[in-house]
Structures are given as structure tokens and as C-alpha cells.
Amino acid sequence: MSHLVYTLLVAILVAAAMAVEGDRSARDRCYAAIYWFASAMAFVFAGGWVMYWIHG
């Protein structure tokens, strides 16, 4: 399994779990899932570039 596929899988699982929590409407849950998924991918992308700059 490649790093990208694994990262996508973890991000999807975490986003879905975060969206389930709390008393929210279905639309808010959808927004929460998108927000968490996008945040996770942005964090990984930024972290990847930081590691690239540090290690080359």
C-alpha cells in the first residue's frame, strides 16, 4: 500500500469519526467530514514539504 493511499484511508476514517460525534444536523455532519478530511490532507501536504526542506 502506497503512502498516499494509506494517508487517504486514515484521513477518511478520522474525518468520518469526527463527523459522527456531537448533536448536529446531517448537513453539518457533511461539512464537518469535509473540513476534517481537507484539514488532514493539508496538514500532511505541509508536513511533507517541511520534511523535504529539512532532509532534502
Partner: protein
């Protein structure tokens, strides 16, 4: 008006069956999603040959205190998955600490399954009727 189920039932059901706390509270949708998430993470972890055994003392030789603590915390987190963890053990799946370090993708996925189940237990705890009246 029905009486609220005891909180111990939420904890026990939530550990034995992922999302079981929601099932006790009759939140069937959340139960189904939580069960699917924990089951998916556990299955992925098992297929990726993640470590699921408690680290032996010999395996931790040479590690500093923080690394030992993290290794044991990881084992506790994997056990928090509850049902899938017990099923895997009952089915004979056994991967030691060192094997788990080699197959780190699977080990991380098994830890994630446990943490997702802890989130489900905490979510059900928050929805407990007695808690919500406060």
C-alpha cells in the same frame, strides 16, 4: 418515561462491540457508522500484519523510558478496539511488538481502530441522558 441505562453498560457495550454505547442509547445510525469505521480500521490493520500483542520485556531491551511507555500505551490503545481485538486473538492472530514495528502501517491502523472506538465510547457517554440534563 424509560429509565436511562447505567453508564457501566455504555462502557462495557462500547468496548465489546464498537459503537455499542450508541446501540444501548438506541442511536442506531451512529452505532452503524462507528461499527463500520472501527471494523474497517481493524481489518486493514490485520491485513497489513500489524502487531497486536503486549510488548515483552525482552523486546523492550535497550529502549529508553519514553519509548517503553509509548510501546505499552500503543498496546493499550489496540486493546481499546474491544470486539475486533478479541476476535483477532481468538482466531489465533498474533503479531509481536518487533513484528509490529516492521509492519508499522498495520500497527498504526490497529492503534487507530482502538482510538476510534474510544471516541465512540466518549460520544455515547456524552449523550447519556443523565449527563445531558446537567
Amino acid at each position: 418515561m424509560k429509565s436511562a441505562p447505567p453508564r457501566a453498560a455504555l462502557l462495557l457495550a462500547g468496548w465489546l462491540l464498537p459503537g455499542g454505547g450508541y446501540l444501548v442509547l438506541r442511536r442506531y445510525g451512529r452505532f452503524a457508522v462507528s461499527l463500520a469505521l472501527v471494523a474497517a480500521a481493524s481489518l486493514a490493520g490485520l491485513f497489513l500484519r500489524g502487531g497486536n500483542l503486549w510488548p515483552e520485556t525482552a523486546e523492550l531491551q535497550g529502549l529508553d523510558g519514553v519509548a517503553v511507555l509509548l510501546a505499552r500505551a500503543g498496546a493499550v490503545a489496540k486493546a481499546a478496539a474491544g470486539g475486533p481485538y478479541l476476535l483477532a486473538r481468538a482466531a489465533g492472530y498474533a503479531q509481536g511488538y518487533l513484528g509490529g514495528c516492521v509492519h508499522e502501517y498495520g500497527t498504526a491502523m490497529l492503534v487507530l481502530a482502538g482510538l476510534l472506538n474510544l471516541m465512540a465510547v466518549a460520544g455515547a457517554w456524552e449523550l447519556h441522558p443523565v449527563e445531558r440534563r446537567l
